[in-house]
């Protein structure tokens, strides 16, 4: 790296850090969560069940990750030989190589996908062998289409006259734009039916968020999500969460949590974080593929895919830190809007038995897999809120 480039990196890193600090700011108080004993909060049987289930689930994730890296690693070495199966130009050939790479990954992961269903069935959770094998093809097809769009953008820019190796400077904004567009239109694509409950209007007033709430059918596990930007903002509830054993009080807490995401502009913040990651990731990708001729040639595609997967894996802990922070703020917002820590505590305890989520996972699981605070941490927050209100009269 030349001296001038080194000097350029410093201000850019400073800008990145300032932007990250601005995005990190939240309404969360400077709090210290009380340490609670999970054995006192969860029935021993439920705890053991959740832990045992999660232990093996984690192994599946580890297995899938190792398989993915191994297959793509081999594909980096031998993938180029499939170029002879293409009569397309460089971009089309790159697309073919990318799709074949992911096809190999899909095939290699198939046994684990079947095992996962078997494991879920053992614990009475939903899962379909048909979905894990045949219907899964649709997901692979969607992945192919997205991959082709991404490669068309990247390779098209890398091949464009006057851009070349600086493709990443333009590609990152393009992907940010596409992500923003997707965030905007996604709520309209999801559909769902309207959700009516007496507490909805009260929560909307409390959090200053006046958006429609819709229920999505066809899901087997309880969940909820806040999506959209501006006029497209919506809150979606997966239908199991509006049915027993979940109570209206718990649903009210869930809804307040999702309104909290919208009230604190978490969708925009997520896009901001995406933008912050997109530039360095694209730069690293450009640097990594330079040895194979850069992203303008199909020979670089197998390596690019491998590097992309590795970078995603490496960025996962940092991304999880961010999302856990946003989720914590939404939980806090829900507590302030509902003043009902008991409902929150009951909700999180129920999650452990309904979804078999480990309330207190091992550190590496926490680092790589947990994009929400753990159930124990979320219960500790409700406890902190209750104690604060009791002792100081306000949170």
């Amino acid at each position: 790296m030349t001296r001038s480039r080194a000097w350029l990196v410093v201000p850019l890193a400073a800008v990145w850090a300032v932007a990250a600090w601005l995005l990190w700011r939240s309404s969360l108080p400077a709090y210290h969560l009380p340490h609670l004993d999970q054995h006192a909060l969860f029935p021993a049987g439920a705890l053991h069940r959740a832990e045992h289930f999660s232990d093996v689930e984690r192994l599946f994730w580890l297995g899938k990750t190792i398989i993915e890296l191994a297959v793509l690693g081999v594909f980096v070495r031998y993938g180029v030989r499939w170029m002879r199966e293409s009569a397309a130009g460089p971009i089309g050939t790159g697309m073919l190589l990318g799709m074949i790479g992911f096809a190999f990954v899909w095939a290699a992961e198939l046994p684990l996908a079947v095992l996962t269903v078997w494991w879920r069935h053992r614990y009475g959770l939903s899962g379909s062998y048909l979905d894990a094998t045949v219907t899964n093809w649709f997901a692979l097809g969607a992945q192919f289409v997205l991959l082709c769009v991404a490669l068309a953008i990247v390779m098209g820019l890398a091949r464009a006259r006057g851009i070349g190796e600086r493709w990443w400077l333009l590609a990152a904004p393009v992907f940010i734009g596409l992500r923003t567009l997707l965030a905007f239109i996604a709520p309209w694509l999801l559909g769902g039916r309207a959700f009516h409950a007496p507490y909805v209007a009260q929560l909307q007033r409390a959090e200053h968020v006046h958006v429609p709430v819709r229920v999505l059918s066809g899901f087997s596990e309880p969940n909820a999500a806040a999506t959209g930007l501006g006029a497209s903002r919506r809150v979606f509830l997966w239908d199991p969460i509006v049915r027993p054993p979940f109570t209206p009080r718990m649903d009210r807490f869930v809804l307040a949590h999702e309104f909290g995401h919208l009230a604190h502009n978490h969708i925009w913040k997520s896009l901001g974080w995406y933008a912050l990651f997109a530039f360095p990731l694209a730069l690293l990708l450009a640097l990594a593929t330079r040895g194979r001729g850069g992203m303008g040639v199909p020979e670089a595609v197998p390596l690019a895919i491998f590097v992309y997967v590795v970078l995603q894996l490496a960025a996962l802990p940092l991304q999880n830190v961010v999302t856990r922070h946003l989720e914590a703020e939404a939980d806090w917002s829900a507590l302030r809007a509902t003043h009902d820590p008991t409902a929150g505590r009951q909700l999180f305890r129920l999650f452990a038995s309904e979804t078999l989520e480990d309330p207190s996972p091992p550190w590496w699981d926490y680092v790589f897999l947990e994009n929400h605070p753990t159930l124990l941490q979320r219960i500790e927050m409700t406890q902190y809120y209750a104690t604060s209100v009791r002792e100081r009269g306000h949170p």
């Binding site: 089309g92 697309m95 074949i100």
Partner: protein, 417 residues
């Protein structure tokens, strides 16, 4: 490359048809239908005996062989008469050389591998599926499953469509159009090979290659302005891309759909231009030609007629199965004005060939996964179907006013596809 198939189609028909017998063709054939039914029952029973004996001896008895040969011939004669592939009223005994559309069969029974005799009923299934899409029948003994198979392929049968359209054309002109006659003859020839295979007349598997089937037909159709060119021996297929073929084609399917919207708009504009000037606009002609070529590339890739992943631009000369399109020529204004209506018969034939194309693709998928190559016959049947599809699109999108030619044979000046 191949030894000639022992079951060969002979076509000595002169296209002339008697309008009166054509008009009453189905009614005139009623005695034959009754006779065919009786013969089918008899052949069904005796073929079981023949099968059992042949498993032990490895060779059908001469008496059975003669019976089966007569049945195969009679089936072809009757099929040709009913579907207007030929004109004279056929005899009832299926005698060799007695009819303008005939089947040459081995005179003596041949020794066959016993295991292929034992499993003949299973081995016959792929050929039966192809035969169902071409002729809708494969021996009267399988008549009960005909309709079911036809429905499942989504397209009508080629022979049925040719007979239906040929009926109107013949009543009007007193001649059977060559394209429909050739296509019908091809379907009958393949059905004869399939039936002969099932009835142990031969152990040679039916060959779906249309050019080889119609080798005896000497008069070629005229050169068409929209032609498919390619190497018929390009049979290698990559197993991995074959296995994931449908998914790999997804980006192309999205792209071709988007392109089709623009192509339709361009064709509407071209319609006005051609109607006014009598000659299509050059820029629109190039754009639409590129779309039709790209569509051919994508379909060929998706349905395993060609191996490599195609490009996205429809550029000529880069794909193993390619489209040659002549430049814009003067077009008849009447044909331009009523193009949509005039295209309907071609679209019907195209749909019938589409059924065969789909079945061929499914069978090729299994075959290519095992052997790493496409079967010669099915590849060339598919190339024929794609050529007709491209010509239909060329006609519909005003690239040319030359009507699509349904004959499986290539035009006179054209390299084989």
């Amino acid at each position: 490359m191949h030894d000639p198939h022992p079951v060969r189609l002979v076509v000595e028909d002169d296209y002339r048809r008697n309008r009166l017998t054509v008009f009453f063709r189905l009614i005139l054939a009623i005695p034959h239908f009754i006779w065919f039914f009786l013969w089918t029952v008899w052949v069904t029973l005796t073929s079981i005996v023949n099968w059992v004996i042949s498993i032990f001896t490895g060779r059908p008895r001469p008496w059975f062989h003669r019976l089966m040969c007569g049945y195969v011939r009679y089936q072809a004669h009757l099929g040709a008469y009913v579907s207007l592939v030929s004109d004279p009223y056929p005899g009832f005994m299926g005698e060799a050389g007695s009819y303008p559309v005939d089947i040459q069969l081995p005179e003596e029974p041949v020794t066959q591998r016993r295991w292929t005799i034992f499993f003949r009923g299973l081995l016959f299934i792929p050929a039966f599926l192809v035969s169902s899409t071409l002729a809708g029948l494969s021996g009267g003994n399988l008549g009960s499953s005909r309709g079911k198979t036809r429905n499942s392929t989504g397209g009508g049968t080629l022979l049925l469509v040719c007979a239906f359209l040929g009926w109107f054309a013949t009543l009007a002109r007193g001649r059977m159009p060559k394209g429909l006659r050739d296509a019908g003859a091809y379907a009958l020839g393949y059905t004869a090979q399939t039936t002969a295979y099932l009835l142990l007349v031969t152990d040679r598997y039916p060959n779906a290659d249309p050019t080889e089937m119609l080798v005896a037909v000497t008069d070629r159709p005229p050169r068409h302005p929209v032609r498919v060119v390619g190497d018929p021996y390009d049979l290698r297929r990559s197993r991995i891309t074959v296995f994931f073929r449908l998914l790999l084609a997804l980006p192309h399917l999205i792209w071709v759909t988007l392109w089709a919207i623009l192509a339709i708009l361009a064709a509407i504009a071209q319609w006005f231009v051609t109607l006014v000037r009598g000659v299509p606009a050059g820029a629109l002609h190039r754009f639409i030609s590129a779309y039709i070529r790209y569509r051919l590339h994508v379909t060929a890739f998706l349905l395993l007629v060609a191996n490599p992943f195609p490009g996205f631009t429809g550029a000529p000369g880069v794909y193993p199965l390619d489209l040659e399109v002549d430049g814009p020529q003067r077009q008849n204004r009447w044909k331009t004005g009523f193009r949509l209506v005039l295209a309907i018969p071609a679209l019907i034939v195209d749909a019938a060939l589409g059924g065969a194309l789909l079945i061929a693709a499914v069978l090729t998928w299994f075959y290519a996964l095992i052997k790493g190559s496409a079967p010669w016959g099915l590849r060339n049947l598919s190339a024929y179907a794609l050529r007709y599809d491209a010509q239909t699109n060329g006609y519909l999108f005003l690239v040319t006013d030359a009507y699509p030619h349904a004959s499986p044979l290539e035009g006179e000046d054209t390299t084989e596809a």
